[in-house]
């Protein structure tokens, strides 16, 4: 099933991006990043804020973890330490980004500030890093894979935010309000995304 990925041809990159963003949507097909998604998706603008932060962090950490894994862990035969290494890289990266953003762009910091700590415990980020190990990708494809995965998450949470804004105004059975109805909406969205599956297989 794995198509030979030769070099950095434009078509390969587009395929990797689309398959990561749509056919293998990290939220709707792989179930990752649900916790923060349920918590934050009450409004469209907060969803967009967190989504944007996630795109940036997934793309960068996927690339970083790829480098660490292939150039540090594999030569030293320390593959079994990958979990602890990946989570450290992610935590350190998020901390670093937070400091840089705070220093150079207070406006961006105010916009993203509260979302950054949430990202460390977002399983989508660690998930992308773990899934990339099963893929035959090189460095650049991994970066695109992270970018696509992040974009898929962003897309799904923004859709969900929009729907939840409308749902808030309706009357629901008592036990269903809150997480219950949100899960049903996600189920329907996920049903829609099943339509993408089988379109591309990499």
């Amino acid at each position: 099933m794995a198509a030979p990925l030769d070099g950095n041809s434009f078509a390969t990159i587009v395929l990797v991006f689309i398959s990561a963003a749509f056919t293998d949507n990290i939220l709707l097909a792989r179930f990752l990043g649900m916790c923060s998604c349920l918590g934050v998706s009450k409004k469209v603008d907060t969803s967009i804020g967190l989504g944007a932060a996630v795109i940036f962090v997934t793309a960068s950490t996927a690339a970083l973890n790829y480098l660490v894994y292939t150039h540090l862990l594999v030569p030293l035969h320390l593959e079994y330490l990958r979990l602890i290494t990946f989570i450290m890289v992610i935590a350190a990266f998020v901390q670093f980004v937070e400091m840089v953003v705070e220093r150079f762009s207070p406006t961006l910091y105010n916009a993203l500030g509260i979302f950054l700590p949430l990202i460390t415990v977002n399983c989508a980020i660690l998930g992308i890093s773990l899934f990339m190990l099963n893929k035959p990708y090189g460095f650049f494809e991994t970066f695109i894979f992270g970018l696509g995965g992040g974009f898929g998450w962003f897309f799904a949470i923004t859709l969900l935010g929009g729907i939840r804004e409308k749902i808030n105004e309706t009357v629901l059975p008592k036990g269903l309000a809150g997480p219950g109805i949100t899960l049903i909406i996600i189920g329907i969205l996920s049903l829609a995304f099943v339509g993408f599956s089988g379109m591309i297989k990499i």
Binding site: F31, G39, L83, G175, L176, P179, G180, I184, G187, S190
Partner: protein
């Protein structure tokens, strides 16, 4: 804290059930529940990690500097998850191939972080061990319920064994194998559990 261990156990198990009360740890709930065998291994991993990481974090609670506590907690949790990962790989390599990435994701499972932050950081080690253990069991209960429904409907098997007289009555619900089925099932379980517990609260 003047609570008895029993009180803490049931509080963590039901009133503060991680899945349908606090809506934590949903990610792995959904991914592994289409086969019961996978679910049982996942539950084992989560119970092991919540109980022991709560215990260790509580032992160290007075030595961890406040500012870096998140990183320290993540490191403690990650080391237990690594043990589980290696253990499952050795005991059940076939299952590990499927749930491998999700076992790794126990690190970012918010239940564990949540218990560590909310309970273990303030309480004595033994009590924290009970609390972590009960949270793990509460999580497992929901997972097992969902898996018991999804596996027979989606594959016509139960724990890998074929259902009796399957060809007479059984019809495959393909949706139960696919991700949407997981979301719908979890929604229904949450609905029932919440409706039930609000009813009992009103009676009190």
């Amino acid at each position: 804290m003047s609570y008895t261990p029993k009180h803490i156990f049931f509080k963590a198990l039901w009133e503060e059930n991680p899945v349908f009360r606090q809506v934590l740890g949903i990610c792995s709930t959904l991914a592994v529940t289409n086969l019961l065998a996978n679910t049982l291994f996942m539950c084992f991993g989560v119970i092991f990690t919540t109980a022991l990481s709560s215990f260790v974090i509580s032992l160290l609670r007075n030595f961890i500097p406040k500012r870096i506590r998140m990183i320290v907690q993540v490191l403690i949790i990650a080391s237990f998850v690594m043990m589980v990962d290696i253990l499952i790989k050795a005991l059940a390599p076939d299952i590990h191939r499927f749930i491998g990435p999700y076992v790794g994701l126990i690190i970012t499972n918010c239940i564990i972080m949540g218990r560590a932050e909310a309970f273990a950081a303030q309480n004595k080690p033994l009590v924290s061990l009970i609390d972590g253990f009960a949270s793990g069991i509460g999580y497992s209960l929901i997972l097992i319920v969902i898996a018991c429904i999804r596996e027979p409907l989606g594959f016509g098997t139960f724990l890998g064994y074929q259902l009796p007289a399957k060809e007479l009555w059984w019809h495959q619900w393909t949706i139960m194998v696919m991700p949407p089925g997981a979301f719908f099932m979890l929604a229904v379980v949450t609905w029932f559990a919440r409706a039930y517990s609000t009813k009992t609260e009103v009676k009190k």
